[in-house]
Symmetry: C2
Subunit: 127 residues, 2 copies
């Protein structure tokens, strides 16, 4: 569960993750969740109609393909905010550890249901 | 000014800062600004009545003193969210580079005016 009481060490939270593409909430600032995720391979093309999504890379490399604009390549210490409404598809050739910041209501595969879709309850181990 | 078009490299944005305690906006996700700041010494005791404030350390160490609760010590890769309404005072013995995430309306010294108070316009070099 989320630690609201003390410092959060991002790398330790990443190390706890066992599955790829299964973000875990590690904090909350105002109406935004801070999440960590380990990703490898390709997620799925999707968009979030009303919500921007921030990707901050901790280790590895992430390619974000987007509809109607250039791909974005991100490495450690770099971030990009995918604007609301833009179809996007994150891809990691090798394992990549990242921080996601997004509105508490955001589903990680947006309006696209996929075998990789996880609810917050599943992500939090609540079911 | 803010770069909304490509990847943002946090360390490069920190390197551009000349003054301590003068946060600079480097991104926006939903209603939150992503800012970088170089800090050294002590800011001022203050609070934000309606807004949480996230401190993520890039280099150095930050001590966050808070009213009615234990101090928080943060190092690189660690973050803490100061809850809304809590009086706090960030202190860095040596220079510390950090990322702040806070609501677009948040003033960095909260409801306390100090010689270190900067408006977003000043921070952005707009005046």
């Amino acid at each position: 569960m989320m630690n609201l009481l003390g410092p959060v060490t991002i790398r330790e939270e990443l190390d706890k993750l066992k599955e790829h593409w299964s973000p875990r909430v590690i904090g909350k600032v105002n109406n935004q969740y801070i999440k960590v995720a380990k990703v490898q391979g390709e997620l799925v093309w999707h968009k979030h109609d009303d919500e921007d999504e921030m990707f901050l890379i901790v280790y590895g490399q992430l390619l974000i393909q987007m509809e109607d604009r250039d791909d974005i390549k991100l490495g450690p210490g770099e971030f990009y905010v995918v604007p609301r409404g833009v179809m996007h598809n994150p891809i990691a050739e090798q394992e990549c550890g990242l921080v996601l910041i997004e509105t508490v209501t955001t589903k990680h595969t947006g309006d696209t249901e996929s075998p990789l879709t996880r609810s917050i309850e599943e992500q939090e181990g609540l079911r």
